[in-house]
Amino acid sequence: MKEKVLEKEFIEMIQNHDRIIYKIASFYTDKDTPLSDLYQEVVLNLWRGFPLFRGDSKVSTWIYRIVLNTCVSFFRKQKKKPVYVEISKDIAAEQSNNDDIKELYNLINKLGKLERALVLLYLDEKSYQEMADITGLSLSNVATKLSRIKNKLKQMSNELN
């Protein structure tokens, strides 16, 4: 019974934050790591941590930490892939309507995994303190790194156009 209630709460939480999870996961997909694999991996890790979450931090901060940790460290030794559930709705089409977002997705692969994490946190308007907590950087380092990444993206965009 308790398990059912927990599952219901969890599903609700995922549905409230599924776009964030999707956006982060799509920043880290490549030919070896399809989106459905990564998304499912994230959901499983969130599910593992859900009973332990006591609300010490904001739900979104907690989600960000787990989703980014999963995406940055996704490592599968076995060649044989487990069966994954395909996500029925393709929301990439919705996002591709926006040219700037489209360009960002094109450029993001040229950034390192940690740089991508900072870009995501910045775009979702996390405070410098939250960014520092999630990434493990100092406050001053967050600011410096962000400014460097912004310039890097600008430069890459200029080269592309």
Partner: protein, 200 residues
């Protein structure tokens, strides 16, 4: 492209309705009860047990063999020693990997720490694979020479040695093709982590 100007468009894409159904989420939870990291931990745990079971089993077979032959040959003794060294080395490596992976806590650790630990274990796995293979080839060579016995012609040993060398060269190129690229990627990731950790 200005990252600051993107914020609004980015926010817009988060506003739409949920796209994943409860059944799809339930399916994900039922489909695969363990994440990739847990599977890795389980794999290493299984390896520990396999080595613990195989080691006395193999040594027992060698002992039985010597009892059946009614003599304790030096060949069997060396084979037992070589196997024990290989098994003990493997056991230490697997226990190390298991303990290391168990330390990774995605729920509490920050991204840089997790990324650092995962990158290091990835590098360790590749190096372990190469070292294990390098140890395995002479081990197999050693078993074959013992199986052949002392009465065989010398040319057979020369042929076997040439065959082993060719095997090592082929294996080196295969490993180079499949793993050296990954090592490069891992080195790049380590460099990125170091740069991130360094205060500006």
């Amino acid at each position: 492209m200005e990252l600051d100007k993107l914020k609004a468009s980015w926010k817009e894409t988060s506003k739409n309705d949920s796209f994943i159904s409860p059944d799809e989420i339930k399916g994900m939870l039922r489909n695969k009860s363990n994440g990739a990291l847990n599977k890795l931990i389980q794999w290493e745990k299984n390896c520990i047990w396999i080595i613990i079971v195989i080691m006395p089993f193999f040594l027992g077979i060698l002992y039985m063999q010597s009892l059946l032959k009614n003599e304790f040959s030096s060949g069997l003794l060396w084979l037992g020693i070589a196997f024990s060294i290989y098994a003990v080395y493997s056991l230490f490596v697997v226990i190390y990997k298991y303990r290391y992976l168990k330390k990774i806590d995605m729920l509490k650790m920050d991204i840089i720490t997790v990324s650092n630990m995962i990158t290091k274990i990835k590098r360790f796995v590749i190096y372990d694979l190469i070292v294990s293979f390098c140890l395995l080839v002479p081990f197999v060579f050693f078993i074959i020479t013992i199986m052949l016995g002392k009465d065989e012609e010398a040319w057979l040993y020369v042929l076997l040695t040439i065959y082993t060398i060719v095997l090592v060269v082929i294996a080196f190129f295969i490993l180079k093709k499949y793993y050296f690229g990954r090592i490069k990627t891992i080195q790049r990731a380590i460099k990125e982590i170091k740069e991130f950790e360094a205060e500006d």
